[in-house]
Amino acid sequence: MKRSYIVLSVLVALSMLLAACGAPATEAPAATESPAVEAPAATEAPAATEAPAELEGTLKIWSFTNDTWVIATAFKELHPKVNIEFTMIPMNGGEFQTKVRAAAGTADAPDVVALEAAFVREWVEADGLLADQSDLLPLSQELKSYQAGVDVGTYEGVTKAYTFESTPGAFFYRRSIAKECLGTDDPTQVQAMVSDMTKFVEIAEKIKNCGTKDYYMVGTAGELSSPFFTTREQPWVVDGALVIDPKVVEYVHFAKMMRDNGYESGAGQWSEGWFAGMNDTLKDANGTPKKVFSYFLPTWGLPYVLINNAKAKDGSSDTSGDWAMVKGPMSYQWGGTWIGALEGSKQAALAKEFVKFSCLDEEFLTKLAQGYYTNAKLKEIDPTVPDSLVFNPGDFVSSQVVVEKIIPSFDGSSAAQFLGGQNPYGAFAEMAPNVSGRLIQGTDDAIQRALGDPLGAYLAGTMTEAEMWAAFLTAVGNENPDLVLPEPPVK
């Protein structure tokens, strides 16, 4: 199921990009909100041109996301003599991974690749695919890059990929429902109410029995898989054997409890009903309106998923301004894009410079986060970029130094207004340092996806728990023939 989430999230992101280009008027205020950007950029520009030797050559970049295209264009602004060949390959059905894997080692291989959270680790762990970029680590420490992002890009002490963003996850809730059912909508107090799983379940019960009893705690318990998996003790694979951590068992029981007690709406993640809950248009089969109290979403989920869906398509309802965000019961992270250079690239130096620029350049990350790269700006650098290419302000960047510097600039931003005045950048900044990337492994995605189907059958009651674990182990073994499988937790 995870795979289809990713596909859908890409679709959502793309549709968001298209929607954004169709409505330039809404972007204009965002751009004017951060006038501070232009000024430092202008003053720091001479420093940039003082760079020792001017870079030239052709850099081949392959990516599954337009973000990298923006970065490449920004790179060109700084190094006009560099010729960039950007290739966009969709991630759907593993197309991107397959093409890059097939090209690696041949003359057609790209110099720089973008890697998504679902498969970046496999690349970092593979021998001889990505070039060692460990020498950039001091720079990363200087910028206080969030550890989770660095952890993901590092394998056996060698750092091969960096990221320009950090993707801590948050718990977004409806202020109006919080006021009605919990007596307050204040983030600090709500956080105290959901600070651990026991309290979370108590609140779920409260929400369910509140008012007209038409409220659900969450859209689906599946949203909590990331939080549960991030807080495991052990990774999925230890010494070539699969480990079913107690947290995984706990998650399965939690999901069953949420389903059986009616704490979740029952709409699958990324389904129509799940989105409808964000804008109060969710109706059950009898036509009774239902409301969803909260959503677990990471940084990118705020602009691309929540804000994007808070207005009903027919304009009948709009929940903008009625949201707030807190850390929730567990710290977690979800998604992200890493940049790496392929081993054996003829443009290794240039590729390294690109990785450095995209993920470890204070000035660039500042500009990126503050919405400096509008379509007009990108067109100015390269007139051939499409009208849809833009990098909206508010992406949560990977450097703590940059983040802390720019938090105030998001006070009163459109995203802050969406959250009833809460500064999302500030809120994410509190969560990001707590996230750990130490458990992330290349096989995570395949293993976690294998849990989806058996878990669904267990929740539906068509499989017992013992049958579910057996089915899970069979599915994992089927796709990971080298793994040693443990005894199931329940027999």
Binding site: Q97, R101, D127, G287, D453, N478, E479, N480
Partner: protein, 315 residues
């Protein structure tokens, strides 16, 4: 007379032959080669491991189940598909019924085939989702007391794949069967009518036997298509054959092995090779069982005649 050899002919067939060798033969041979190795996309080296991939497939029951799923879904779809196609074709070609606006009917039945399976699947998936219109309709009309999770049901998920397959393909099959039926000479039916044959007798004694080559064609193409069933089961649920792997077809299983974190193309190839063998054997079987028996009967006679001749010449 000395024949002049003109090589131009080779030039004309070259594009096809080259294309076939590169895109047809090479991938098949390469897949067979890969199936004996433990190649993954993420490692540079790979080893020859003999039949280990195949042994594994038969040992872990997932493959057997996937093959079973494929056959079950295919036969449940193919039988009504050919049945409907035959029935509709007979109705449309029957002079006595003389159905009006045949062209429109044909177009209507063929229409689902023009839509992308992906789009059709997404549509049906949305209609039968938990908050979807099917639940709303059934609950409000009083058929259900509360909304159902349709795709939690093995029978429903399989039925849905069967239905979408049938719905998109029966029109296409009907067109081919009709083409076959209209090519049967009318005088045969006229003669049968004069002799007092019933519609059923005409169907079984004239239409079916003369339609055999067309039926063999449909059978074999449907079988190859059915054994490669992928897009509908892939898109209908979680992309892994949920619920309970009930719509995990053999090709979907191959894709899962390929799409795993390391990209186990060696193991995936072994699934491909087995699908290839299975399809080939079945197709040859169809040719054998539906062969023209009369011509077959004639063969031994020919042989013996030939033999006799040679014997005579020897003597």
């Amino acid at each position: 007379m000395k024949l002049k050899k003109i090589p131009t002919g080779y030039l004309f067939i070259a594009p096809f032959i080259i294309g076939f060798l590169v895109f047809g033969i090479y991938p098949v041979l390469n897949t067979i080669g890969l199936s004996f190795t433990n190649t993954t996309l993420m490692s540079k080296t790979s080893e020859f491991i003999g039949l280990d991939n195949f042994k594994r497939l038969f040992a872990d029951a997932v493959f057997i189940k996937a093959v079973g799923n494929t056959w079950l879904i295919w036969s449940l779809n193919f039988i009504p598909q050919i049945g409907f196609a035959l029935l509709l074709s007979v109705m449309f070609t029957n002079a006595r019924l003389n159905i009006k606006a045949k062209g429109i009917w044909r177009a209507v039945f063929y229409l689902p085939n023009l839509m992308m399976p992906a789009a059709v699947t997404a549509l049906f998936g949305a209609i039968f989702s938990y908050y979807g219109p099917a639940n709303q309709l059934l609950v409000r009309a009083g058929f259900l007391s509360e909304a159902l999770r349709f795709f939690d049901s093995v029978a429903f998920a399989r039925g849905m794949v069967v239905f979408i397959n049938w719905w998109t393909w029966f029109g296409q099959t009907m067109i081919i069967v009709m083409a076959g039926m209209t090519s049967i000479p009318l005088p045969l039916y006229e003669a049968a009518m004069v002799d007092g044959a019933s519609a059923w007798q005409m169907f079984t004694k004239i239409t079916l036997p003369l339609l055999k080559p067309i039926l063999v064609f449909i059978f074999v193409t449907a079988l190859t298509g059915g054994m490669q069933m992928f897009d509908i089961p892939y898109l209908l649920t979680d992309g892994r054959g949920a619920p309970e792997s009930s719509i995990q077809t053999s090709v979907l299983l191959m894709f899962l092995k390929f799409n795993s974190s390391k990209g186990h193309i060696g193991a995936a190839s072994s699934v491909g090779v087995l699908i290839f063998i299975m399809t080939t054997v079945c197709a040859l079987g169809i040719f054998y069982f539906l062969r023209d028996k009369e011509m077959d009967d004639a063969k031994p006679a020919k042989k013996s005649f030939f033999k006799k001749n040679t014997e005579e010449s020897q003597s």
